[in-house]
């Protein structure tokens, strides 16, 4: 099927493109970009006027829960949610059951995603075997099996010597280490950010320094090893500062933040709202401001969702008992567009952080629309008004703090290898 996407504002930071253009897709590839393109007979045409036409969005941090935890999400429901959110590629974290620490699990995920056909899934393998923090996983084979990075996401690699060796070894294998930066002793039994709100609610706090110490350690280890590192879900002002300073010294560090960290503060926990419970926790206004500044000045490279589906039974419980994490695939785009509308970042920066940057960091052949590239394309309707409800979320789980929010912006067409896999929400 050939496709002509006509008259949209094509924004492709990978080639410095931002103009009203047509995109012609043939055989699952971008054939041509230009003005007034003529479609060969039999080409389907999409009127893209008023939209942004961007490389297919990439979310480098999701949990698809498959294999093993399919009651929360599976590869089919998770990639459908991705498509509905405008994502053509997602990278899934290895904390499945069994863990993605071998070829078989990675292969299962890639195959299942391919046959579902809603989005590319690039698995992230484990740093340590079984994510036990004891010995290195077979990173070479993981890479050969299609893993694009390694991480023990959900838990940090506590042992600094092991983390050092992981960085060195992964660097040799040409695979990136993604750090879940957290000092577990400082986290303790904490259930939310430590601050005024935790004092008032009588909930045990997680201090910012728990994240910052681990961020600093991992940045220093990367610097010492001269190896690249990516810091996941940055949430504090201090972490942004540490990464900014490291980048200035030439450390090969990149990082991401999630929409909830630039949208919400720990006030969202009031009422003991378990859908505002995640790890790292929502912080305070000064942190939100620092995250926005980090996005603006380029310290923060990517917007990733940390999409973490949990079953109602795991969230509809007392606050301390509730699981950490929220879904994010379908709300990331409107919340990121809000940053653009508020003048925090430009639309080009937003697209960069959701396409070419994660693609470059992970070394995946996506994130651009140069002729010959795979035709993963997102047609964004920035004016679409919609309300986030349980019913209109494709994800199997509904654990979102944004339920009931009226938001603006959505994918009008999500196109995977030239095929429309999602066309507009109600």
């Amino acid at each position: 099927m050939n496709l002509l996407i006509k008259g949209g504002r094509v924004i492709d930071p990978s080639q410095g493109l931002d103009d009203t253009l047509d995109v012609l897709v043939e055989g699952g590839m971008v054939k041509e970009i230009g003005k007034g393109l003529q479609a060969p007979a039999g080409t389907e045409t999409i009127d893209a006027s008023g939209t942004y036409v961007t490389p297919g969005l990439i979310d480098m941090h999701v949990h698809l829960r498959d294999p093993g935890l399919e009651y929360k999400e599976d590869i089919i429901s998770g990639t459908r949610a991705a498509a509905a959110g405008g994502f053509t590629s997602v990278c899934c974290m290895p904390n499945t059951k069994p863990v993605i620490d071998n070829k078989a699990v990675a292969g299962y995920i890639i195959d299942k995603a391919k046959s579902a056909g809603f989005a590319n899934v690039f698995p992230i393998g484990a740093i340590t075997y079984g994510m036990n923090g004891e010995r290195l996983a077979e990173m070479g084979e993981l890479k050969e099996s299609g893993c694009v990075a390694v991480s023990d996401d959900g838990k940090p690699v506590v042992n600094s010597e092991l983390m050092r060796r992981a960085l060195e070894y992964a660097n040799g294998m040409g695979i990136l280490v993604i750090s879940h930066a957290e000092d577990l002793a400082l986290v303790g039994e904490g259930a939310m950010n430590e601050g005024f709100t935790s004092t008032e609610l009588g909930l045990k706090g997680i201090p910012r320094v728990a994240e910052e110490i681990a961020t600093a350690r991992d940045v220093m280890l990367a610097e010492y090893s001269n190896a690249p590192i990516h810091i996941a879900h940055v949430s504090t002002k201090g972490s942004v500062r540490i990464i900014r300073e490291a980048k200035a010294r030439g450390v090969k560090v990149t990082c991401e933040t999630a929409p909830h960290y630039f949208t919400l503060t720990d006030d969202a926990v009031r009422g003991y709202n378990t859908n505002a419970k995640m790890n790292p926790p929502l912080r305070e206004a000064a942190d939100v401001a620092a995250i926005k500044e980090g996005l603006r000045d380029g310290t923060i490279d990517c917007i990733a969702t940390d999409h973490a589906p949990h079953h109602l039974d795991e969230k509809d419980v007392e606050f301390n008992v509730a699981m950490n994490g929220i879904i994010g695939l379908e709300t990331s785009l409107p919340l990121s567009l809000k940053l653009v509308a508020d003048g925090i970042i430009t639309i080009n920066q937003m697209v960069e952080k959701m396409t070419v940057n994660p693609a470059k960091i992970l070394g995946i052949c996506r994130g651009g629309l140069k002729p010959g590239a795979t035709a993963d394309i997102t047609v964004i309707d920035p004016s679409k008004l919609w309300t986030v409800t349980e019913e209109n979320l494709a994800s199997k789980s509904k654990n979102s703090p944004f339920l009931g929010w009226k938001v603006q912006g959505a994918s009008a067409y999500t196109i995977l290898e030239g095929k429309v896999v999602f066309s507009g929400r109600q």
């Binding site: 004092t199 609610l201 009588g202 419980v317 007392e318 008992v321």
Partner: protein, 310 residues
């Protein structure tokens, strides 16, 4: 007279000054019943009250039970060792099963802060909080205020020192929420490891760097239990050193106003946060607090039942 419109009493933070005044003044009236030869009125006859205690308690549970019985309500006590919670039943399921038996009030103590708000969304009966995690203990806050009011005739303008582990204390939070609404000024002291961040933003609260500063010229000195099971190994060296810097004894009590009230929510670690000379001394109102506890809980039960007299 103000009206009490809440179905539940979960936190003094949720109540207005007028509502707190109403609960206290009703408690003052209830005390008359407790002094009769036959200590029972038919006010809550036919009402069923379940005391659901997920944490150990002697004083509070007994006090709620006596309060209910003095008002002629029927009471049932459930504690984790005798309930299904050991079989892995969720709090919500336990509550829904209890609700099916048509109680009018569930009085609950639970280790998780905010558990009562969760429960209140699930059930249609009234919920009274008998302590939730490190959040609030509203009946304790009310009885503390009633005891202070007995002594001073007012709460407005009192200097109240609270000394101890503020971070883990639900009593401290309820006292702070209630007292600051009523016009008292609360001074907090304790090791910095036990002082929660930004606590001064809760109201008219001053965090002191020493115990001396907090109790200087205080009208009330409230000592908190050092809960050794909560402090772990990192919050203080040991009881000996704690006692030396944060214990109340006849010497440092002299810094407070003459005849200042000494209070403690119990149970006391004699010789740790308070010396026995102070516990049993003339300025101690600790047993008076316990006595007032029954009246305050009668008032709470009465008001969540609509405050109608039979």
């Amino acid at each position: 007279m103000a009206e009490f419109k809440h179905r539940d009493i979960i936190a003094l933070r949720d109540l207005t000054k007028e509502e707190i005044e109403l609960l206290i003044s009703t408690a003052e009236n209830m005390r008359e019943i407790n002094s009769r030869a036959i200590k029972k009125v038919p006010t809550l006859r036919g009402k069923t009250i379940i005391n659901l205690f997920y944490e150990a308690s002697t004083r509070t549970r007994t006090s709620f039970e006596i309060a209910a019985k003095r008002l002629s309500a029927d009471t049932v006590n459930i504690s984790p060792s005798t309930s299904s919670s050991t079989k892995g039943e969720t709090l919500a399921d336990t509550a829904l099963n209890l609700l099916a038996m048509k109680p009018d009030i569930i009085v609950m103590r639970h280790a998780v802060s905010g558990a009562h708000y969760f429960l209140a969304k699930k059930v249609s009966c009234s919920i009274i909080n008998a302590g939730d995690g490190a959040h609030e203990h509203p009946s304790q806050g009310l009885l503390d205020m009633l005891t202070m009011k007995d002594r001073f005739g007012r709460l407005d303008g009192l200097k109240v020192a609270i000394v101890g582990d503020i971070t883990h204390s639900r009593v401290a939070r309820s006292d702070i929420q209630g007292l600051t609404k009523m016009g008292s000024h609360v001074y907090l002291a304790g090791p910095p490891t036990m002082m929660p961040p930004c606590v001064e933003r809760l109201g008219n609260v001053t965090v002191c760097s020493t115990m001396k500063e907090a109790i200087q010229d205080a009208d009330v000195v409230m000592m908190l239990r050092i809960q050794q099971e909560r402090q772990g190994k990192t919050l203080m060296p040991n009881a000996r050193e704690y006692s030396r810097y944060f214990g109340l004894n006849p010497d440092n009590l002299k810094l407070a106003k003459p005849n200042a009230m000494v209070m403690h929510p119990g149970p006391i670690n004699r010789g740790v946060e308070m010396s026995s000379y102070v516990v049993d001394g003339s300025q101690s109102h600790i047993l008076k607090q316990v006595e007032n506890g029954v009246a305050v809980r009668m008032s709470m039960l009465y008001h969540v039942c609509g405050g109608e007299l039979e």
